[in-house]
């Protein structure tokens, strides 16, 4: 298993089924050609382990009749159907599959049906190539005229899994003289299927253009084992292999008489691929120093998967096995060899040459500087929001995500929403004013730009200036520190004061510095997040007299000690925020007042919960000499 992970594929899971194990492999999408069949995975393992691979039998005795005694066969469009083989098998005995076959199907999550259907399903899982068997006697005519043709407009096919599909243009069917038998490459038809009384078969193996398959299964919303395989693109060469394997099993397990010949329409034969490689190229791309004998050792192991190599001067010419449609170019054969060599043998190097002089990116520099000024000098906090939105100039034609039908063209609606949401948590956050910003993209018909949106909203306890004044002060300050003026869109709303500016214009006349200086200094290296509660919080105030000079922090300490629900509840403290909001001294006494915010991670707190804590806090405070809660 570790070998599969390191050399081939990720493993999703392993399940014990009966006495067997099912390994769920996440086959990479460029390996569907071969590895969606068990043999493909077995070939990888044979190379990795350098062990013999015993291929299943593909030989069978031939009867003396000919396929042509029973059928004629034609393909209308050989662009979409790249190969088709038909062969008649007579006198099969339909029955249950032998235990080994039924067990293997069960292990891979399939339901055994009868020996004929099971054999075709099994061969597809073994080799990737789907196979189908028709009941020959259910097809129309004496000599059956079989053709793969375009579906007629509105033509309907009853499929194996039940139900009827109406076909559209450019969908293909396998048809006899009377009607369409099935949806070619997608699913077999119901009225030509094998049943308990079937005697004679027409075995069909076809290959299709993968794009045709994908379009058809999408149009019909019909995903099958066959479409999953065909969509990946299957080598036309596999049709041969899979037909022979099917015939061998039909002969062995169902007593089938295999016709002495077949009809094979294969107009453009797949050209044998030869990948070329020099040792120096392999070493250069992978970053290793293999000798030619080491490389040849790997190539020899790869023979077990069907590769054949020769060396002409310093160039290796490597014949690629037919099913491996993914291996053609230099980089692809390098990958194949490197996988088999083992990526774990590639040593880390940090030897990047300094042959390149990087420039400072003006936009990133100023974006970072503006954030720094806003956060560190002007007291604004940064938010990230979705660039996608339910409004904007650019609209999607196919969004599947709720509320995300557009790209936003303005920051204003986002910032307004942020103010509305966050002001609700002002007490929890211990803030009497919300000051926030986002620096991100907006997009519209004529382009996109980096925009800054900022917003200010005061709570009822705020004693400073009005929101609009705060906002223009901040803008003025920011512009002064930057040394540039921008065209701001400023508005006062119910939710607060909001401004937006096009940053690219704002910085347009500023020069690009020669280094990033300190703008990237703020670090998150030692930070950790504490999950916040999804339940509402409760706000209570407490005010008390203390001896003159008593520090606010000392009072807070006493309060915090009593903040939990009870001493041993294990729920942690409910007191999540203490904010002093009023302190004054009168004669020999100092008055302190605090907002206390209570919230539980586990549930919504009741008045009773909070009152109990409040009483304990009051009691604790009053035991201190000179303290008196008002």
């Amino acid at each position: 298993m570790r070998l599969i992970v390191l050399h081939s594929f990720e493993i999703e899971g392993v399940k014990k089924v009966g006495d067997d194990y099912a390994i769920d492999i996440d086959v990479l999408s460029n390996r569907g050609h071969d590895a969606l069949g068990h043999l493909g995975v077995a070939r990888d393992l044979a190379v990795i382990l350098d062990r013999d691979l015993t291929l299943p039998s593909r030989t069978y005795p031939l009867a003396d009749f000919s396929t042509k005694d029973y059928i004629t066969f034609g393909i209308d469009d050989t662009e979409l159907v790249t190969r088709g083989i038909m062969r008649v098998v007579r006198d099969v005995k339909v029955g249950e599959s032998p235990k080994w076959l039924a067990d293997r199907l069960l292990t891979t999550g399939q339901r055994p049906i009868n020996n004929i259907v099971d054999i075709t399903n099994y061969v597809a899982y073994e080799s990737v190539q789907p196979v189908h068997a028709y009941d020959l006697d259910k097809l129309a005519g004496n000599i059956k005229k079989i053709i793969v043709r375009d579906a007629k407009a509105g033509e309907k096919v009853k499929v194996l899994k039940g139900g009827e599909y109406e076909l559209g243009e450019r969908m293909l069917v396998v048809s006899d003289e009377s009607h369409a038998l099935d949806i070619a490459g997608v699913m077999g038809g119901a009225d030509s299927s094998v049943d308990a009384n079937t005697k004679n078969l027409l075995v069909w193996v076809g290959n299709f253009d993968p794009i045709y398959i994908r379009k058809t299964r999408k149009a019909l919303k019909l995903i099958t084992d066959a479409t999953k395989r065909y969509e990946q693109g299957i080598s036309n060469e596999l049709a041969r292999v899979s037909m022979d394997r099917t015939c061998a099993l039909l002969s062995e397990l169902a007593g089938g008489q295999i016709a002495k010949d077949e009809i094979d329409i294969y107009p453009s034969k797949q050209v044998e691929a030869v990948a070329k490689l020099k040792l120096v190229q392999f070493n250069s791309l992978v970053g290793v120093n293999l000798t030619s004998s080491e490389l040849e050792g790997i190539l020899n192991r790869m023979k077990r998967a069907g590769y054949v190599w020769t060396k002409i001067r310093d160039e290796y010419q490597i014949k690629v096995p037919g099913e491996r449609l993914d291996v053609r170019e230099l980089h692809e054969i390098v990958e194949e060899i490197a996988r088999m060599y083992g990526y774990d043998k590639v040593k880390s190097k940090l030897a990047l040459k300094n042959d390149f002089t990087p420039k400072v990116h003006k936009g990133f520099y100023y974006n970072s500087l503006i954030k720094k000024l806003l956060v560190e000098q002007l007291g604004f906090s940064e938010l990230y929001n979705y660039v996608m939105s339910n409004e904007g100039e650019l609209e999607f034609e196919n969004s599947q995500v709720e509320g995300m039908s557009h790209l936003r063209s303005s920051m204003v609606p986002t910032i307004e929403r942020n103010l509305v949401q966050n002001i609700k948590n002002a007490d929890l956050l211990g803030l009497d004013q919300i000051r926030l910003f986002e620096l991100n993209k907006v997009a519209y018909l004529s382009g996109e730009h980096w925009a800054l949106g900022i917003g200010v909203k005061n709570t009822h306890t705020w004693k400073g200036a009005k929101e609009s004044v705060m906002l223009s002060e901040a803008i003025k300050n920011l512009e002064e520190k930057l040394g540039s003026k921008g065209e701001w869109q400023i508005m006062g709303t119910q939710s607060g004061a909001i401004a937006e500016v096009n940053i690219e214009k704002l910085i347009q006349n500023l020069s690009t510095p020669s280094s990033y200086g300190h703008v990237l200094n703020a670090t998150g290296m030692s930070k950790k997040f504490k999950p916040y509660s999804q339940y509402p919080f409760v706000l209570r105030d407490i005010a008390l007299w203390t001896p003159v000079g008593t520090k606010s922090e000392d009072v807070e300490k006493i309060i915090k000690n009593e903040g939990g629900p009870s001493t041993n509840s294990g729920q942690g403290s409910w007191l999540v925020q203490i904010t002093p909001f009023d302190t004054f001294t009168k004669g020999e006494q100092t008055s302190h007042a605090f907002h206390l915010v209570f919230q539980s991670m586990q549930r919504t707190l009741t008045d009773g919960d909070v009152n109990a804590v409040h009483v304990r806090i009051t009691k604790a405070l009053n035991t201190h000499p000179g303290f008196s809660v008002r």
């Binding site: 250069s284 992978v286 290793v288 590639v346 806003l374 995300m404 790209l407 949401q421 956050l429």
Partner: protein
């Protein structure tokens, strides 16, 4: 009138900004140049030039948002980029090799969201084109960046992966630094390794689309999930918190 005097409390950075500062600083130290591409991309630079030709499954509408009312120079609908790899052709078209660049931002996937799936996720991608860029350097660079970022030596392992714009294509797993493959570990789930980077040697088809002479130059590129890495750097359990516009997140940083 001085509201913005010393009594003005300091604001807070969003955790993704702090993380970006930390990561980009490491790249700048290594001699990388920061660059950026547009979020609204054309069919050519988002797909075609990256070896995802017409009919490629990644182009499916279930993965890509297509914009109804904006077409690219090729007459095809534009889309918010589905990954940042546009720069693998855009930058070379405007600059001559050798180069080392880093670029970051949001990528868009037309999929429903939950605690681990984000339709608008943040990524950091890096690319090196030189005469001898290779898998050893790729591994070394990634290990250096991760080790500096986590403040402890990070080991990685390379596994076969597939992305149309790189070949060989590799997934990079980071050895868990929290536990020794303990069940329930928030980082590695007990496996001992955590997939953090998608990478590979640049496909020569892509380099040529960027106007690079592949007889002389070769390259590697890799993408780090900016938000995903932030999740286990800071212990954030829901990827959607980043884009939620919520000060309850920001003000902890």
């Amino acid at each position: 009138m001085t509201h913005m005097d010393k009594s003005t409390p300091r604001g807070h950075y969003h955790p993704l900004t702090l993380m970006l500062n930390d990561i980009v600083s490491i790249y700048i130290e290594l001699g990388f140049e920061v660059t950026e591409g547009p979020i609204v991309d054309s069919d050519w630079s988002n797909f075609e030039a990256l070896n995802m030709k017409y009919g490629h499954p990644a182009r499916d509408a279930q993965d890509t948002f297509y914009i109804k009312n904006k077409k690219g120079p090729d007459g095809l609908p534009m889309m918010p980029r589905t990954q940042l790899s546009q720069m693998q052709v855009m930058y070379p078209l405007a600059h001559k090799p050798p180069f080392k660049i880093v670029y970051f931002g949001k990528a868009f996937r037309n999929e429903n969201m939950d605690a681990t799936h984000e339709a608008e996720h943040s990524q950091i991608e890096a690319m090196v084109v030189s005469e001898k860029a290779n898998l050893g350097e790729l591994k070394g660079t990634i290990e250096h960046v991760l080790s500096k970022f986590f403040g402890t030596k990070i080991e990685t392992r390379l596994r076969p992966g597939y992305f149309p714009f790189v070949e060989p294509g590799l997934e990079v797993d980071m050895k868990c630094f929290l536990c020794k493959a303990t069940p329930g570990c928030p980082i590695c789930k007990g496996i001992g390794w955590r997939e953090v980077v998608a990478s590979g040697m640049m496909n020569p088809i892509v380099l040529r689309n960027g106007g690079v002479d592949t007889d002389k130059w070769q390259g590697f590129a890799y993408a780090i999930g900016w938000d995903r890495l932030a999740m286990f750097k800071y212990g954030i359990n829901d990827i959607r918190l980043f884009n939620a516009g919520d000060l309850r997140l920001t003000n902890q940083f």
